[in-house]
Symmetry: C2
Subunit: 240 residues, 2 copies
């Protein structure tokens, strides 16, 4: 798995007419490894919903910054949140309602590593992975209803159903929390699956070749020491 | 786990005199969550060595791009690789030997998610995590010896010891592969561990609170179907 190039200037790509796909654009059609790219909405949603952190990139004083952060998805919109004092959230400035506000140019990337790919040749070593890259402009969410929806989505992204089983944010917490939204429009998924792809002339070499799958799971839950008596582990956790 | 702010303008931070720490800089001292930041070299190395992918951010046409990619570490230097035709690698331009070459400004971030943090309040939901953020300038590696060392490190990052048990890159493969180096200088780690931190007045609320640990492991290896006869699974894989 190597540094890929995303932005081939692409003239021959047809815009997807299937409503379940994102339209490929200059930003999302790779110059290389094009057979690994996908614009399928269902695949994109599945990759986004399975991960816990995204890597949010933006430009500060001309230099790139990449920060890991939790996110939530509501339909075709992603949300991230932070303190109202945090720099990227202040940089995002105004709202969609203020047309003069440019928002914050971001690139939001989510990646799963699914396996180690061991080829006979060093050159063909790789990782099996699934990733989504979203380019766009993030805007502050100021509508109180959308902000609540976004914060619920962030909590439900940690554990589905959890927002209904916790104390909702109060006015002070809402005021201290900034939320950014990013539309799923300029989006692509990329993945590698399966066996190593060795060159034909290397197949007889005396090196083991294959895939080591990476597996993820949940450990036994650790209740807080100060949990009020009589509170059992909720079903939505047992179901994980 | 929310969008943090990294670049507080910081006047009161003492430069670390311990040789096993990175010196905090304006770029690596957060304005918020400062108690979660660390400059410890051993911690940084451990976080880097345990992950498989980094998220590499750079600026293209004024906009941020964040791509997942494999990496390798040799001492205080990280390496990423890609096709010589890939855009970011071409953007990195010349070499350290060419003083006039500016290289490519990057931010390279590595994150582990260790647990889901379920507080009584929606507001205090979070993730337990460990991350490293590196700011710097990436340069193309042109010295043939360093390039070979870097490619070995990339393969050994997939599985320690693997580079010695695979066919080394040949001249054609070396020529097709570009390698970027990034020094570990402007570096910080950040982590959250332990129980949820609910407000005192919420402790009696009837909501479960605690941590769900995330665990990672390896599945049974999948040998390539065309493996030459008599090749056993190597010990370095059984040891994973």
């Amino acid at each position: 798995m190597s540094v890929a190039s995303e932005s081939g200037i692409e003239t021959g790509v047809e815009t997807a007419t299937d409503t379940a796909s994102y339209a490929p654009t200059e930003l999302t059609v790779p110059t290389r490894g094009r057979d690994r790219a996908s614009y399928d909405q269902e695949l994109v949603h599945a990759i986004l919903d399975e991960a816990y952190v995204c890597h949010l990139g933006f430009v500060r004083d001309g230099a790139p910054v990449v920060l890991p952060t939790l996110y939530g998805r509501v339909g075709e919109r992603l949300y991230v949140h932070g303190s109202t004092g945090s720099r990227p959230l202040r940089m995002a400035g105004g709202t969609r309602q203020q047309e003069e506000d440019p928002g914050l140019a971001v690139c939001l990337t989510v990646t799963h590593v699914d396996g180690l790919v061991l080829a006979r040749s060093a050159f063909h070593h790789s990782l099996n992975y699934r990733s989504v890259v979203i380019h766009g402009t993030a805007h502050q969410v100021t509508d109180p209803e959308e902000k609540r929806t976004a914060l619920d989505a962030l909590v439900d992204h940690v554990v589905p159903g959890r927002s209904a089983d916790s104390r909702p944010a109060n006015a002070k917490e809402l005021a201290a929390t900034a939320v950014l939204s990013l539309d799923l429009a300029t989006v692509s998924a990329k993945m590698r699956t399966g066996a190593p792809s060795d060159d034909a002339e290397d197949l007889g070499l005396p090196y083991w070749s294959g895939v080591v799958p990476l597996v993820k799971g949940y450990g036994a839950v650790i209740p807080s020491a100060d949990l009020a008596p009589g509170i059992d582990t909720p079903d939505y956790l047992s179901a994980l």
